[in-house]
């Protein structure tokens, strides 16, 4: 089970000086299974780099945050890493964008970004 970097997205850090120390990456594991994500609500901090470690427990799922133009396939049997640094506080919904059966339409969760 080698981690695979499928998608990496770095959001611009507004107003952060080049000399500022970049905080270490925080790792957040997210499990995808028909038809939900666990946890269903993830709280992140603005400016804190994050690695989302996505794993599918049963079959192919997707991870799509249309608002941030970030998406990845979540394949079973491997960890899919998505890197991001939230720039703006708010609620960002994500959903499965690989059709996975009767209930696919309800497979969604959210990231809450706080200052």
């Amino acid at each position: 089970m080698k981690p695979a970097i499928i998608a990496a997205a770095l959001l611009c850090l507004l107003g952060v000086a080049a000399s500022a120390a970049i905080p270490p990456e925080r790792h957040v594991a997210i499990k995808a299974t028909r038809f939900f994500y666990s946890p269903a609500r993830i709280v992140l901090k603005t400016g804190q780099p994050v690695v989302l470690e996505l794993t599918a427990l049963d079959r192919l799922h997707g991870f799509d945050i249309p608002e941030l133009h970030i998406r990845a396939d979540i394949l079973p049997g491997q960890v899919t890493e998505v890197r991001l640094t939230p720039a703006k506080a708010g609620t960002y919904e994500f959903h499965c964008d690989n059709f996975c059966g009767s209930g696919h339409e309800t497979m969604a969760a959210k990231i809450v970004v706080e200052d």
Partner: protein
Amino acid sequence: MGPTISRRDFARLSAFGGAVFASGLWRGAEAATPAEEFYFVQLSDLHWGFEGPPNPEAKTTLRRAIAAVNAMASPPDFVVFTGDLTHTTDDDAERRRRMAEVKAIIADLNVKDVKFLAGEHDASLDWGAAFKEYFGATHYTFDHKGVHFIALDNVSDPGGKIGQEQLDWLAADLARQPKAKPVVVLTHRPLFDLYPQWDWATRDGAAAIEILLTHPKVTVFYGHIHQENHFMTGPIAHHSAKSLIFALPAPGSTPKRTPVAWDPAEPFRGLGYRSIEADPKTAAYELTEVGIKA
């Protein structure tokens, strides 16, 4: 309706007895000879096999629509189903059973020229294998009375993609069409980003639209979103059709994409099909939305 009522218009009005949708946006001049116009019917999102409170009449809705099409005073030249003929199931045998059943019901149409497109519920769990067995190819073209029709498959890939191979096929086919010839694209998902948060998009739809823009007279008819929607991307009009199983809320109007509840006081509200009168001379399409009668 226009200033003069043609025989066909009159026949349609008397057959439907309902509201006629005719917006100036999708309607051209009235100058064309009526004899060259034709019409076809679009049915969509039947979800055969679905059971649940959003439609207690799930077993009869499609049959009612077919009976209504058969009762039209002037039969359409052909009927097109824009996907989700069946409701999804993990069981391959059950999927085939649903397809066989829905195909048998559709065979009751008096009109024998019937075109089929797949929806993600039909095709996304097996890359269209069962659909192809029962309904044939998932992308193809045909010509009818001066209009070139292109059926595009954006559902066999579970990611809601058309794929490069089909995009190349689309570009090559379109390049062969005279610029004066109207082109109608039939597909399941919206080709544009209608509401990606609800998966109301095609992942590589922008590439398809870019190709379609190389032709001046393209109109798209699709399904998937279980409601009427009319949208322009540049000169291309995109028209989605109602469903024959349950309506879905307007894009982003509710927190979740849950079906609109069945209203016993107004059964079949929000469900229906559409007839499209095509004028090949002006590439104008007059849409008539027809509800299902209780």
